[in-house]
């Protein structure tokens, strides 16, 4: 039969914060710095990535301020180059890649599969320390004068022509890469070997499936980036020549190796976000995710296809026409599993009992913005239009729609969704709904004009631009300030809610996942007893039956 954990739940309306939980179990700095508990490590990660998101966001603000006027007047052009480079490096490697997996994934995956912890707690802690090492190196780089290669480190610019801190930035990304390898490795092992009795692969929540797919990408892709960065560093220090045409090397080889990781990295960033959306959409429409198996396999399909499309970043870089043709076709294929997800979420909503709590609002934002981001990707994947659009603001708008409109929305959705579980307290609902709305409006104001700018031909990565582009740039900068408010609000009210938020109880959303069947915040070992999974994922009827039983046993 079922687990007996559910009858131990406190009643929702009279809920209190349990005295014994993972936050209160031990006190003192060392109990955090030497912890093996996945929930505490997730908390450490959450604090650190928020800090770097804040720095990356401030840099973005400076970039938009500079672009308010056509001349380069706020900062010098060199400084501008450093601003967008460090914005990119910080946001990609120190925020987006670890955002959902290392925080939310770390927090909920062991609970979702019914385990006491990730398989390798020490490796998990090591991954956080590596992340912090990378972060410190990044801060050092910024203090020492920054780097201006663009986040892609393109050779020969990064190896021969710039005299900024390429080596420390390269090391920073190298170390951050190992942190993400260890996170991915830990997830794969946990999902394979730590599932509780009865938890078959097709009973796993879809969040676990999508993180599994992202972990495959982390484990297989990141080492290639690591060796590429080692070669860049050697090229700069010793002058080895592998990427230097003067010595017989090949700069295109660098791009192949770099994008072999960095294209899958896009899916490392988006897949865990898609997992969040599956959980949220199901919970707030009170329905099983439509086409569970298709959604599960579409995550794996995205991971596999993701490895065979990298050269679409290089259509204008001098690859042959035939390989451009093949890569263009393969790129179109990625649209299939992505569309499967979007359509299945739409069908999940169909005839569901939809409510509009904050996580759901962010999810709606995700679905709309990610769809636009994905569709504009088709323009860039088609070789003909790509030649016109690449290296313009069109591409900037495209990947911000996917990364910010997609991933960041999903991250915020997930943070709001699991906040009651994490802290035991609710966030203020009305205020956060407002924040979701502000984010959505601000986002569209910021990035939609950039599509138009791109089609008009405004190139990316310049501090100045022709005056006729100013109106749209003013729009974009104004939008960025609205967006800034939208991001500042959650930081403020979530901090506020730590002390003053309403007490959540164990299952405020009446969600079905195993993580909702234990107290909030959970015990250090998650479950008093290892649960036995005896129902399908998203089985709301099972939850109803559990509720009835709870009432009888309490009464």
């Amino acid at each position: 039969m079922s687990t007996n954990t559910i009858v131990l739940l406190p009643d929702q309306s009279t809920a209190t914060i349990p005295k014994m939980n993972f936050l209160s179990k031990e006190n003192g700095l060392l109990s955090w710095l030497l912890t093996g508990d996945h929930k505490r490590i997730a908390t450490l990660y959450l604090i650190s990535i928020t800090f770097f998101f804040f720095i990356g966001g401030a840099l973005a603000g400076l970039i938009r301020l500079e672009l308010l006027t056509p001349q380069s007047d706020l900062v010098a052009t060199d400084t501008y180059n450093k601003l967008f480079t460090m914005h990119g490096v910080i946001m990609v490697f120190l925020f987006l890649v670890p955002s959902v997996p290392a925080t939310i994934g770390n927090f909920v995956i062991p609970m979702m599969v019914g385990a006491k912890d990730l398989a390798l707690p020490k490796i998990n802690l090591l991954s956080w320390y590596l992340y912090m090492g990378a972060g410190i190196m990044m801060i050092y780089t910024m203090a020492a004068g920054g780097v201006d290669t663009g986040w892609t480190f393109t050779t020969p610019l990064s190896t021969h022509y710039v005299n900024t801190h390429v080596i420390t930035t390269g090391l920073c990304v190298f170390i951050a890469g190992f942190s993400s390898i260890f996170t991915g490795l830990n997830f794969i092992v946990t999902i394979h070997k730590m599932r509780c009795p009865g938890m078959t692969w097709f009973r796993l929540p879809l969040f676990v499936w999508s993180n599994y797919a992202a972990s495959i990408l982390m484990v297989l892709g990141t080492p290639v980036l690591a060796i590429t960065l080692v070669l860049i560093i050697l090229e700069r220090t010793v002058g080895i020549g592998v990427f230097d045409p003067a010595k017989g090397g090949d700069p295109l080889l660098f791009q192949h190796l770099f994008w072999f990781y960095s294209h899958p990295a896009v899916y490392i960033m988006i897949l865990p976000g898609m997992g969040v959306i599956s959980e949220v959409v199901s919970t707030f429409s009170r329905k099983r995710v439509f086409g569970y198996t298709a959604v599960a396999f579409s995550s794996v399909a995205i991971a596999i296809f993701g490895f065979f499309v990298w050269a679409h970043h290089m259509f204008i870089m001098g690859i042959s026409n035939y390989s451009a043709l093949v890569f263009s076709l393969l790129t179109m294929l990625v649209a299939v599993p992505s569309a499967i997800k979007i359509f299945n979420w739409a069908f999940t909503l169909y005839k569901g009992s939809i409510t509009f709590e904050t996580p759901m609002l962010y999810s709606f934002g995700f679905m709309g913005l990610f769809t636009i981001g994905g569709m504009t990707g088709v323009f860039l994947g088609a070789t003909g239009t790509d030649i016109h659009l690449t290296e313009t603001y069109f591409i900037v708008a495209h990947f911000h729609f996917v990364m910010v409109g997609g991933m960041l929305m999903a991250f915020l959705s997930g943070i709001h969704f699991w906040w009651p579980k994490w802290t035991g307290r609710m966030y203020p609902e009305k205020l956060s709904q407002l924040a979701a709305l502000i984010t959505f409006i601000g986002f569209n104001f910021t990035f939609f004009p950039q599509f138009i700018l791109g089609t008009l031909g405004m190139p990316r990565r310049y501090a100045s631009y022709p005056p006729e582009f100013q109106v749209l740039n003013v729009f974009s900068t104004a939008g960025a300030s609205i967006l800034g408010v939208g991001y500042l609000l959650p930081i403020l009210y979530l901090t506020w809610s730590l002390k003053y938020g309403e007490i959540a109880g164990s299952n405020p959303w009446q969600a079905t996942g195993l993580e909702w069947q234990v107290q909030s915040p959970p015990l250090t070992e998650n479950f008093p007893q290892i649960p036995i999974m005896d129902h399908e994922a998203y089985d709301y009827e099972w939850l109803e039956r559990q509720k009835e039983k709870e009432v009888t046993s309490v009464g």
Binding site: I227, G241, I530
Partner: protein
Amino acid sequence: MTQRGVEGAHQGAHEHPAYQRHHFESVEQQFDATNFAMWLFLLTEVMFFGGLFTAYLILRNWYYPAFVEGSHQLNIGWGTANTAVLITSSFTLAMGVWCAQTRRKSGLVTFLILTFVLGMVFLGIKGIEYHEKWVKHHVPGFHYSEASFLNPASDPEIYKEYHDKALAPDMAAKTELYFFLYFAMTGMHALHMIVGISILVFMIFRAQAGAYTSGHVTFVENFGLYWHFVDIIWIFLFPLLYLISRHQ
């Protein structure tokens, strides 16, 4: 914690062996998980070396004559000896794992020490080879000299054996890429050896204290996987770097 009194489906906490970590349900699960993690880690290593192998294959296709003559400069005797040393070290380590499984403490310590010695011998031979390259100015980036390829007769020792033709200046320049790849690939391999040897030293001390021979062999087994993997990398490096067209 609250459920300690209840004897659940799994055995009570006091029956667990001391080496079982708290979050695993059974020793088998712990072994399975860590073993699987090691295989995954080795997979990341394959991808890491994969980048270098890709660079090697592309550049070798482009500059084949330079790679052939660069390869002739390597000392095939030392290379073969090192291959033998490394394979033997894999054998001694496998014996060590067997000793750990069958709880033979002195056997385990002996085989670990043997593996350590063979690892050091490998690095020593590698050092001799690196020194030869240094003397002949074949270290890329440090006063690299193309003399042996522009004028093979100036290098009588190699010339006597292979009768290499002089390379055109632009092709001779590409030998520097060959030597870079040689140093990068064998260097990265040697780095993995150094990490392995450091862990071996740690294991020798732990094994003398009686660890690994009381039933908990996961660490030794996983280290064995790592060591064999480093060995296999060399099995690929040896023909790719040393044996390019020795009879041309």
